[in-house]
């Protein structure tokens, strides 16, 4: 049974639709990656599903209920969202920032309970950021900072986590660090993870399920083997790709590629 899906979802500003009648199912307890060229509506889709921006028509259904009619605080206990590169953390310490992940569970003046502190410490531990607890977030490196933001999302204790390009601006090692963390969360904690990624090979390597978008519509959605193919990549990115098998992970990978010549 799929918990989260969209039904003929259209998103846009005014007359211009960015996402058109899109229906997608997010598999439970899997890693789903959304890929597609710039401006294809990946982030827009992510934001609409997580109620950060409104949609024009269609529906987003979570556990049988329409997301835009659900109480936002209850939603915040089910879905966490990490937006694209949150800028500065205003001088907050790591511990403080992560503690805001407990916001949906607090009432009134927001006193943190014993449980809250335990969850915060757990989130810091899992993301390997405990040693920064008292440091200002802004003093950390890019990869460390991203892990801290993920810790905040984890402190929300949601089963579903959305991330919008969690590896942007990170070097290769730090990208892997973040992706492996997400993989571990998926495998050990059975979290459902949905993210937008730019790198096709990373998408193929870490995702169980890939959604390829173009011009606000799904070109192909399915397991990596079905999406990372010559035909799909030609249709989505307008590239001529050579697909092989990653010798270590046995996942499909794009070995080399050229821009397709001629008309689009």
């Amino acid at each position: 049974m799929v918990r989260l899906y969209t039904d003929d979802l259209s998103i846009g500003y005014g007359e211009q639709l960015i996402v058109k009648e899109l229906s997608v199912q997010i598999p439970n307890q899997k890693i789903t990656t959304i890929i597609g060229p710039n401006g294809c509506g990946k982030s827009t889709l992510l934001k609409a599903i997580t109620r950060i921006i409104p949609f024009q028509s269609g529906a987003v259904i979570l556990d049988g209920k329409s997301v835009d009619k659900e109480n936002t605080k209850i939603l915040a206990k089910k879905i966490a969202i990490l937006p694209q590169t949150p800028e500065s953390a205003n001088g907050l310490t790591v511990g403080e920032l992560v503690s805001y992940g407990r916001f949906p569970y607090q009432t009134g003046f927001g006193r943190l309970s014993k449980k809250d502190y335990e969850v915060i410490d757990w989130a810091l531990q899992v993301t390997n950021t405990s040693s920064f607890k008292y440091l200002p977030v802004d003093s950390l490196s890019g990869g460390q900072r991203q892990r801290v933001w993920i810790a905040m999302a984890l402190a929300q204790e949601t089963e579903i986590i959305f991330l919008d390009e969690p590896t942007t601006y990170l070097d290769m090692a730090h990208q892997l660090e973040v992706l492996e963390l997400l993989q571990r969360l998926n495998q050990e904690e059975q979290r459902t993870i949905v993210m937008v990624l730019h790198d096709l090979n990373q998408a193929a390597r870490f995702a169980d399920y890939i959604v390829a978008l173009k011009d606000g519509q799904i070109v192909k959605a399915g397991p990596c083997e079905e999406v990372i193919t010559k035909e799909v990549l030609r249709g989505v990115f307008h590239i001529d790709a050579e697909i092989g098998i990653d010798p270590r992970t046995k996942k499909p990978m794009c070995i080399t590629y050229n821009l397709l010549k001629g008309e689009k």
Binding site: I52, K77, P83, G91, F109, G110, K133, Q156
Partner: protein, 345 residues
């Protein structure tokens, strides 16, 4: 101080050298000291003993009467206005994530000012309650104009663009106030309100204004946790389950109440709302649960200080308190612009 107890637990996630409750108590001691200083010094010389007798005994004398009827309401007003402007500045900076936000710089004060002039012109004999309401409406109109113009450009609003819009709108609104004053021949009345500063503040005015300001403080404090999250990033706030539109609307009303009430009490006053939150953040950090109460104290202290300087620097003449504040505030403004919003980091 029961609620201070709450902050003790913050240590588990935030290692600070001095605990917040100590900072709070030190702030209170400074405030009381500053209050005594401002009560003692002035054009008419009084002693600490007179102040004590005026406040805590039913005794009567010339000095005591001056204290009770002139200086005390004035200093109470100074504290209220300083605190109100500081809190409204802190909220504005939080909502807009604009380090240059200040009710005096972003059109609220000038809007209230223009509304005050118009209401004096159109409704002769308007009472103080009417003036206060006019100030609220004016402050709201001024703010909407500034943010409307500031967001017209497609690139969204940058801190400096908003300040430019604020300068333009303020110039326009001050011109309206002046024009109305001249046309209806009430310039003197208008300027008595708008440029009078704290001179002639009476107990009856205070009675009218104080509830608005106190309500503003309470609501601000209740929403301070929401404000911290909002000040981080709006998308994060939504993701954490905050009703951002509702939160921003309520906070906007609080800002209007505080800024409008301040104008009704003392007229124009820029820079308090700009300076105080930055100073306070350097002391207590970026959590608005601490920034709001500390801004109340620091704003009150700053205003008492400015008023005392204004009353004593050139006895028997008064130096306008707005001018004193502006002399402190302008360099501060320039530093914030230069450092891109981080004054003390």
């Amino acid at each position: 101080m029961g609620f201070l107890h709450y902050f003790c637990r913050k240590d588990k996630i935030m290692k600070t050298s001095i605990h917040f409750s100590y900072k709070f108590v030190i702030g209170l001691i400074l405030l009381v000291t500053m209050f005594c200083v401002s009560m003692v010094f002035g054009a008419a010389s009084t002693s600490l003993q007179d102040v004590w007798q005026a406040l805590f005994t039913p005794l009567k004398s010339d000095a005591i009467n001056i204290l009770r009827e002139l200086r005390l309401p004035r200093e109470v007003a100074a504290m209220l206005v300083g605190a109100a402007l500081a809190v409204s500045g802190a909220i504005m900076q939080g909502i807009t994530r604009n380090p240059l936000a200040d009710p005096g710089l972003l059109g609220l004060t000038s809007g209230a000012n223009a509304a005050l002039a118009i209401s004096l012109a159109l409704i002769p004999g308007i009472n103080y309650f009417g003036i206060t309401i006019a100030c609220f409406i004016g402050a709201a109109v001024g703010a909407v104009m500034v943010f409307g113009i500031g967001s017209m450009n497609k690139g969204g609003f940058s801190p400096l663009r908003i300040v430019l819009a604020g300068a333009a709108v303020s110039a326009f609104l001050y011109a309206i106030a002046d024009g109305v004053g001249i046309y209806f021949n009430i310039s003197k009345d208008v300027s008595m309100w708008t440029a009078g500063g704290l001179i002639g503040t009476s107990w009856s005015q205070l009675q009218m204004i104080t509830p608005f300001i106190l309500i503003g403080f309470i609501v601000a404090l209740l929403l301070s946790r929401q404000l911290t999250i909002l000040s981080l990033n709006e998308e994060v706030a939504v993701g954490l389950g905050q009703k951002t539109t509702q939160t921003k609307t309520i906070l906007f009303i609080v800002v209007i109440l505080l800024a409008g009430a301040s104008v009704a009490l003392v007229g124009n006053m820029a820079f308090v709302g700009l300076m105080v939150p930055h100073i306070v953040r350097a002391i207590v950090g970026t959590d608005y649960r601490l920034i709001i109460p500390m801004s109340v104290i620091a704003g009150a202290i700053l205003m008492l200080l400015a008023d005392t300087i204004g009353r004593t620097i050139n006895i028997p003449y008064e130096t306008p308190v707005a001018a004193i504040i502006a002399i402190m505030g302008l360099p501060f403004f320039l530093v914030i612009v230069r450092k891109g919003g981080r004054v003390f980091q």
